[in-house]
Symmetry: C2
Subunit: 414 residues, 2 copies
Amino acid sequence: MYMRNRLTIGLFGFGCVGSGLYQVLNQSTLLNANIKRIVVKDPNKSRSLPDENFSFDKNVILNDPEINVVVELIDDADAAFNIVTEAFKKGKYVVSANKKLIAEHLDELLDLAKQSNVSFLYEASACGSIPVIRNLEEYYNNDSLSGIEGICNGTSNYILTRLNNELKSFDEILLDAQEAGFAESDPTLDIDGFDSKYKLQILILHSFGLKTKPEEVLNIGIRHIKTKDILFAKEKGLRLRLISYAKKVEDRIVAFVAPLFVKENSFAYDINYEFNGVSIEALFSDKQVFTGKGAGSFPTASAVLSDVSALQFDYKYEYKKLDSLNVELADAIEIKAFVSVSDSRNLDKLQFTTVEEEYASPEYSYRVGTLRIDQLTHDFYRNNPDLFIAFYHDADVKIVSNIDKEELIQEEMS
Amino acid sequence: MYMRNRLTIGLFGFGCVGSGLYQVLNQSTLLNANIKRIVVKDPNKSRSLPDENFSFDKNVILNDPEINVVVELIDDADAAFNIVTEAFKKGKYVVSANKKLIAEHLDELLDLAKQSNVSFLYEASACGSIPVIRNLEEYYNNDSLSGIEGICNGTSNYILTRLNNELKSFDEILLDAQEAGFAESDPTLDIDGFDSKYKLQILILHSFGLKTKPEEVLNIGIRHIKTKDILFAKEKGLRLRLISYAKKVEDRIVAFVAPLFVKENSFAYDINYEFNGVSIEALFSDKQVFTGKGAGSFPTASAVLSDVSALQFDYKYEYKKLDSLNVELADAIEIKAFVSVSDSRNLDKLQFTTVEEEYASPEYSYRVGTLRIDQLTHDFYRNNPDLFIAFYHDADVKIVSNIDKEELIQEEMS
């Protein structure tokens, strides 16, 4: 009764999500799709399916004319870029969950997909199983959207939740999280906000039609958190959450990933452990909140599956806002911030515009006030492990200036 | 760059939602749409726009060939049916927020829209501003969906929240709600679960591809609630919520609207006052919860706007599950239930299969146990104001039988 494309899938990667997808797809009777080939990297790894199901040469998929859909679920963003762009050139549709790949190669990937007239879907890359991209594309495709923020990283939220509940040290909880499988052995991407930033970039693209580069969006993480910071938050009835934040202020987009103190009335306050949540603020629909499992084998596979399912109907993202909304990133903003240190001399490393609150003692000091965040870079954050920096969720964000950087450079040169 | 239909809108109704839409549409620069004509019923009502904007004859819109979209936002479901079907015949696309219209005329409307090859969108009819239909159509269009439930009626949730917080009588809170504009002067549709049921029918259609008639789905409401029932819930750490409930048990759909006792871990527990929420349970994505404002001028207008916006791209619901999922309504189920009465003699009006808990006193008695709910009809509920009936949210639902009714009738006749 409806036209449906028969989907013959080549699957790259058979880790947690890939094997989940395999299982999900096998149990679905509505989908006109099958996985024809699975290509993996390591021939020696033991897997849940017999060896004959796997190949190790990407061309087994890329050169198979019957395969019309490539599902890319590998870790390595560079190898993924290679696979995805080759798939485009061969006219294959691509589904990916690789936020790093997308955030780093936004421009090229979109162009290539368009040139090849293929669909490129990546719902699972933004907030795991929460269908946020599709909503931004289909439901919020008018210009009323004023802000989007999310807890988009389950690992850091798991750690923050346990820090809040158990008041143990960051290192101890991180170790626990690693042992429980909630954090990678190298947790950098998660706890330093990279994963959250890649996802934010994807959200910004579909919310505001703005392409960004990773280096343009600040990410500071939760690595330097002290138990006293948690106590500070608890005393004030606040919780710390690592938030991917984007807000439209006139024609500027304020965007960052940072720990925020959230109040009980915030959507983020009750999102605990590995759960994710996205809050979309639109002029007329008020705030809407979507919550669900952000990561994990089946939830992520489910988002991938919904992309595959959409391909039956030739669904493509339309990027309607890309050329119609004229917004750019705000480059200097002021926000209410909290900085704590063990060594009080470090407190002056950041210049507060105004100070509201200050505390000093030999082993713990903090300052609360207004901070221009263009002083902050990820390198500054990384190089100053004594500083824990957080912003206040419900504070006003003020755009200080949007200096034309080229002009500034020319001035400096002249 | 993208093909967009120019939309010329004829708007029926200029109440809360209609005037909201007018304002929202005027502020949107992305939308290629304008409202050409507004038809209202009462020439004497004072409105926020000058009189010359309004007509009182539906044909002003229906016979205008330039108008390609009819937005129907009137109260009267019969008049709306008339308008909508005539609009279909004239090849106009229709956007409606009228759940009663849709729930009562599902079959005819879908057929007529299909015959006329027009789009018929009604996002605002299911859960106000929460984009649930679009999600069910686009994201959960595979067969993994196992359940959907929602707080879909802001009025009853507002009353239940205040009952819980203030422990006043139902009548007192209802009166307050009416004065505050949260309840209509005739609150039947809201507090007796009709509004929730119409919405549930729409959710069931898009979740499970099942067309239902209003008389096939049980709705019992919150009208008979006693303060002692609230105390009973509070003692056990439970809250009462009026839930639109649908669950797939094998190839049967268990569906009803009823007050449920929810635990703190339920999505519904923290949805308070006029807020709505929908929880979608899918095999692989686990539970996902969408919350937002269910009703109100702008939130509803915003959902209408997103439908209008989708029409620019000729969007149609595809009803993919309608003929592919073979499910039917379960006609006899057993569930854990609570029944309370003032007059203990009334307690025997419902036959419990098993009794877990019982309390009796001269002015208040209750019984908790397993109940076959095919004993329950809306008429029974309405005719027994002394009985407050609620189910337990986290209890197992057991299908007792799905008797082939025709067979039964034949047996009786023979």
